[in-house]
Symmetry: C2
Subunit: 255 residues, 2 copies
Amino acid sequence: MTKKATRLYPLPAREIPAEAIYEDLELPPKERQDPSRPYVVINMVSSVDGKAAIEGKASGIGDRIDRRAMRNLRSKADAVMIGANTLRAEKVSLGLDQSGPQPLAIILTETGDIPLESKLVGFERQQVLVVAPQRAAERISGRARVLAAPTTPSGGIDLGKVLSILRADYSVAALLVEGGPVLSHALISQCLADALCLTLAPKLIGGPSDQAPTILKGQLLSAEDCSSLKLLSIYLAGSELFLRYSLSPTGVASR
Amino acid sequence: MTKKATRLYPLPAREIPAEAIYEDLELPPKERQDPSRPYVVINMVSSVDGKAAIEGKASGIGDRIDRRAMRNLRSKADAVMIGANTLRAEKVSLGLDQSGPQPLAIILTETGDIPLESKLVGFERQQVLVVAPQRAAERISGRARVLAAPTTPSGGIDLGKVLSILRADYSVAALLVEGGPVLSHALISQCLADALCLTLAPKLIGGPSDQAPTILKGQLLSAEDCSSLKLLSIYLAGSELFLRYSLSPTGVASR
């Protein structure tokens, strides 16, 4: 890859090789070391009209440079997490392209219905942890390491408690979450996400929401949710934008 | 307003007063004078998760600087167009804040059901043109000037022919379209839009698509539609981004 990119913000702007997007990022940021849970970065791609997938698949939206930026983010994280829907929708890799140490791959599932062997590329060379409620754990038993997840009164996975366990027992200080929209929404609505990296691909997709969903799926976010963003950095490659924001409760700006 | 903004792209970056966003824009661009139809700019605002309205209203998404940028765009256009759904959803102004010459306000309606008097702010001091099929024209008669629109075989307004009439008979060389999502999608899918200005507000909205729609409403866009974007400029004010793109058929880059 010989393309160029520009880090437009913070100023001053400077040209970099396109493969260096997010390469200088430090996760977790020095000032955000928190012993109680990992620093959580959500990374997603969308079209300019806000669509994060076409018929369930995100892979056609970003380009080669987005793929590389995603790999750079993964290389900064201790673990990379996705929800089971995302794994069922298409073949995914949660690792780095090069050999060497890989982040822990974490799959969240309520039911245990996860096609690890057929859909997780590089399944053999990466440590995999499946987070599932006790009732679903036996469906995974023997196929991957399982974290029996604490549940909420309604029976869903308690994300806050899972993050605490990942920090305390698995040494995950920086967690990269790559969707899907249900998991990302759940983290944001519980104020469990610290940053959002959004690749804005220079295209328009259209389509109804069941065929072309947005990056978040769930109810309207309220002022108490961490839905207020502060722009941290912008990279530009061609017409593709790489936006990084911090998240905080509405009206509160934080880094 | 004493806030600052930065024009980040094209480089070099430079600081400007926040009220100057889009003030130096020339519509239509010199090299895009076309005697057959107006140069069409779509201007919309969305949250970072792609939502263009909350319960039908776009007014809560952008801030005061977005409102000013929108006024600056209007001051460059000969006419400002919206669809009737947008007018029914909330009170809108299609004019400039200051007195003096105003762009022509154009409302598109299939049915003639438009609450001009109650919803169009500044109705009295601005020329208003309602574009409606002949069958709906009598509902407007006497309330505003009416353009009896040519229709397609399926009975809808023929947007291409309407644009030609606006150029030839109303001297509209630059047309600003402020949505809603149905009208914007129709223009893009028929390759009748030249540029898209998107204000990306630093917030997350969530919610189902019927409560919080995206900027485009319609079927999936295909490679033949003008759904491929080229970034023309970026302004930044606080954490709010003002993105301007040109539109072209997929794979074709144009200015």
